[in-house]
């Protein structure tokens, strides 16, 4: 079943046309990844879905309802949580408070909020002991965990993740992606933007490759990995040989 559908979506920042008629479908329960170079329009796609940016053409549907042009506060109430690039943890709030505020889209009592927060600490044991630490004092990996937990607090049907590996050490990246794989087991659909193609394709069901705001190619991870254009976009390495294939 289609949970999210973008048809012919175009979006711009001022004079810069960042998306040019993008079509994209995410099915319920899938992990779909968007790949492409900087400036290809990956983040713009997520920003258009979550309402931070209003598309200047096209339509975005979520569970059958048109959501393009809705304000972010409305979009998140429908069940789309967006974990933005760079984590953006509130620097002056504690980890617990950061996570708690993730439930701002749901009208729930404070006690329930506290209960859900405790659940998140169970899911992310690494940050539980930093519950009362201020956001800015955390390392990048810890901040990414907080941002993920904050996103999950919204109980989203669809989670938008923008470059969760950004600036993280390889070991931490693996940790983050193990959690992303686990998130899918809870039935949450994930749309993942990632620069780290290999690890993104290792968890995804399908992938899309964008270039200058357009779809270049889409398909299963294996097919994309073997696609010359994808490899060219990432390493320019047409000469790079087979030995670099994922295990």
């Amino acid at each position: 079943m289609k949970l999210l559908e973008l048809s012919e979506v175009s979006a711009a920042y001022g004079a810069v046309q960042a998306l040019r008629g993008l079509d994209l479908v995410v099915g319920e329960g899938e992990i779909v990844t968007l790949l492409g170079a900087n400036g290809a329009g990956k983040s713009t796609t997520l920003r258009s879905i979550s309402g931070l940016l209003t598309p200047n053409a096209g339509e975005i549907r979520f569970a059958g309802q048109v959501i393009s042009g809705l304000h972010p506060e409305k979009v998140v109430r429908l069940g789309i949580a967006h974990v933005p690039e760079g984590r953006r943890v509130f620097p002056g709030l504690s980890v617990r408070e950061n996570i708690m505020l993730g439930a701002s889209n749901r009208r729930i009592a404070r006690a329930e909020m506290a209960r859900d927060t405790a659940e998140m600490f169970a899911l992310f044991p690494d940050i539980a002991r930093f519950a009362d630490t201020l956001g800015w004092m955390l390392s990048g990996g810890q901040q990414q965990m907080v941002a993920l937990a904050r996103g999950l607090m919204a109980r989203p049907r669809l989670l938008l993740l923008d470059e969760p590996s950004l600036g993280l050490a390889p070991l931490i990246v693996q940790q983050v992606f193990r959690i992303i794989a686990r998130i899918r087991e809870t039935g949450t659909t994930v749309l993942l933007v990632e620069q780290n193609a290999r690890i993104a394709l290792s968890v995804a069901d399908r992938g899309y490759v964008l270039e200058t705001g357009r779809l270049v190619v889409s398909g299963k991870p294996d097919a994309l990995w073997n696609n010359e254009e994808v490899r060219a976009a990432y390493l320019g390495g047409k000469r790079l040989s087979e030995e670099q294939k994922p295990a």
């Binding site: 004079a15 810069v16 046309q17 960042a18 170079a37 900087n38 400036g39 470059e163 590996s165 950004l166 600036g167 050490a169 390889p170 070991l171 990246v173 693996q174 620069q195 780290n196 193609a197 290999r198 690890i199 993104a200 290792s202 270039e211 200058t212 060219a232 976009a233 990432y234 390493l235 320019g236 390495g237 790079l240 670099q244 994922p246 295990a247």
Partner: protein
């Protein structure tokens, strides 16, 4: 309108204006309004320079106006100086205070400057009121004489108004001319994008101080003439509220043009007459007008009108000379040497113990995942950040920690990842500001204009020279930014993701452009994510990850390096199953 005819036309306007003033029977009341308007307008022209051209707030123009007024009042009555000497004295003292005030706070942000100017305004009012032995206190100074010019007594009102008008005309002409001058363009570049102004060689702090002092000077000049016009002044005429009135005048008329200052002043001097029926509420309407102008007409009346027929700087005609870019050297000498460079933000090591060398005449690429410290490195090289540790040498000279404009003059040019153009100027004006290294010979206006055009021609944008950059498409803006950097004749050009956001054709053109630059012997240091492009243009690649260098070598070596492959495509470590 040709440039030769313009001054003549304006001179005619002045002559006709003077004739009207001297011949027509003007009643005393109207005469007062005209004298007030012409002297205020001079002070408002100062606001055009500081707020309109340079984008710095000044809420103390009435204080500078007051200093000039007291200069004339006390200079003539207490010291017995001739009128024009006292006038000059007042204006110079005002400029001096502007210099000191600006010098101490212009390095800080906007609201500090607002607060400091207000404080200065308040202190001046207190001093004028309380330093009775000098200022005559709240009673003010009376019987201020009007000037004589040789045998010609200028003390009748029509004559004195004529004097004020001459000063106004000269001031307006100077301020209008300033806009398209080298200094004026520098001011506007500071207003539009201070960071970019710095990296193309403009000493932004100095430009701001000059603007502030000029504004204070014009304030003092207007005030001095005001004192002569009304022959009586008191401290309450130069209070905070009056500064706000002067600010409103420049905003209403249009901050960006001398004519706007005159329009705004004339309107707001007349407005109270028209709003007389509002009685005590007219100042309230005034306040409301300020808000409404900000919301609906941020460019002011003249800005609104002239927006309909904007005129950019005239572009010199004639054949174009090819762009000269240093001399092609094939010496394989190290141009840029980076040793142990580090930049820490709190606990984050954005750049850490970085070493690399760039050889003269080569294209060197800096690659690495997002957040690996590439842009931070460029910011260190162009002086935007001061390094935490390490050394940077350009052609053997230690340039560590120098300011952006000093580095620009030393030969480092750059572009930005998120294009930083001077958005209210035309493509030609943008490039002209960067043209020719300050301090080099051959810097007359004509050769700089030629150089700007050659640079535009080099990137293939000369046909769009007159277009305001804000209305150019993204790809063209990138090219304008490169042309701006080239116009300064850099030795080393730093390019931060020049291909980002370009489509395939534009990328191919960029590759060709970069190759041509290399062919001219220019040294390039390039950050880029598009590996295809990097492979095509670069002679050498340095790879960063977590602020450290993980590889360095020819494209072929580097792109096969296992650590680089891992950093880019993602490492699958042995413990994945665990």
């Amino acid at each position: 309108m040709s440039s030769a005819r313009t001054p003549f036309a304006w001179a005619m306007v002045l002559v006709i204006g003077l004739a009207l003033v001297l011949v027509l029977p003007i009643n005393g009341y109207l005469m007062n309004l005209l004298m007030q308007a012409s002297t205020y307008a001079i002070a408002v022209l100062g606001m055009t320079v500081v707020l309109g051209y340079t984008g710095q707030i000044n809420i103390a123009q009435a204080a500078f106006f007051g200093i000039g007024a007291y200069g004339v009042a006390l200079g003539t009555t207490s010291l017995g100086l001739p009128f024009f000497v006292a006038l000059a004295l007042g204006a110079v003292v005002a400029a001096f205070f502007g210099l000191v005030l600006g010098g101490s706070t212009l390095k800080l942000g906007g609201h500090y400057l607002a607060m400091v100017t207000i404080s200065f305004q308040e202190i001046l009012t207190l001093v004028l009121t309380n330093w009775i032995s000098v200022s005559h206190g709240p009673d003010g100074v009376a019987n201020i004489p009007r000037p004589r010019l040789g045998a010609l007594a200028l003390d009748t009102s029509p004559h004195y108004l004529a004097v004020c008008l001459v000063f106004l005309f000269v001031a307006a002409g100077a301020v209008a001319g300033l806009k398209s001058s080298r200094l004026g363009l520098a001011m506007q570049s500071v207003r539009d994008n201070e960071l970019a102004a710095g990296v193309i060689g403009i000493d932004t702090y100095r430009v701001k101080i000059i603007a502030f002092a000029t504004s204070a000077f014009l304030g003092g000049l207007g005030g001095g003439l005001f004192a002569g016009a009304f022959r009586y002044i008191s401290p309450d005429q130069f209070a905070f509220d009056d500064s706000v009135v002067l600010l409103t005048m420049v905003l209403l008329g249009g901050v960006d043009a001398a004519i706007g200052a005159v329009i705004g002043t004339a309107l707001l001097i007349l407005l109270p007459e028209w709003l007389r029926f509002l009685k005590q509420f007219y100042l309230a309407v005034y306040g409301l007008a300020v808000i409404l102008i900000m919301v609906f007409m941020p460019q002011g009346i003249w800005g609104f009108l002239s927006g309909l027929f904007r005129r950019a700087l005239p572009i010199p005609a004639g054949p174009l000379a090819p762009l000269v870019l240093g001399e092609a050297v094939e010496s394989a000498e190290v141009l840029l040497a980076v040793e142990g460079l580090a930049k820490h933000f709190g606990g984050l090591r954005a750049v850490d113990e970085l070493d690399f060398e760039v050889v003269r005449g080569r294209v060197h690429a800096l690659i690495g995942p997002n957040g690996s410290g590439k842009t931070t490195t460029l910011n260190l090289l162009s002086g935007i950040y001061k390094p935490t540790a390490g050394r940077i040498r350009l052609a053997g000279r230690d340039i560590t920690g120098l300011a952006p404009h000093v580095l620009a003059r030393a030969g480092i040019g750059r572009t930005f990842q998120n294009i930083r153009l001077f958005h209210s100027l035309s493509a030609f004006e943008n490039v002209l500001i960067g043209a020719g290294r300050p301090g080099e010979s051959g810097q007359d206006g004509e050769s700089r204009r030629q150089r700007a055009l050659s640079a535009l021609d080099f990137v293939g944008m000369v046909a769009r020279a007159h277009v305001p950059v804000a209305s150019l498409p993204y790809g063209h803006q990138r090219l304008i930014e490169i042309a701006r950097a080239l116009a300064a004749n850099p030795t080393l050009l730093l390019l931060d993701e020049p291909a980002a956001g370009l489509n395939l054709t534009e990328k191919q053109n960029l590759v060709a452009l970069l190759r041509r630059l290399r062919g001219h012997g220019l040294t390039l240091l390039l950050i880029e994510h598009d590996m295809d492009l990097v492979e095509q243009v670069s002679d050498r690649i340095t790879v960063l990850n977590f602020g450290r260098r993980i590889a360095d070598g020819t494209p072929l070596e580097v792109l096969r390096h296992p650590e680089v492959v891992a950093a880019y495509l993602g490492e699958v470590a042995e413990d994945e199953a665990a």
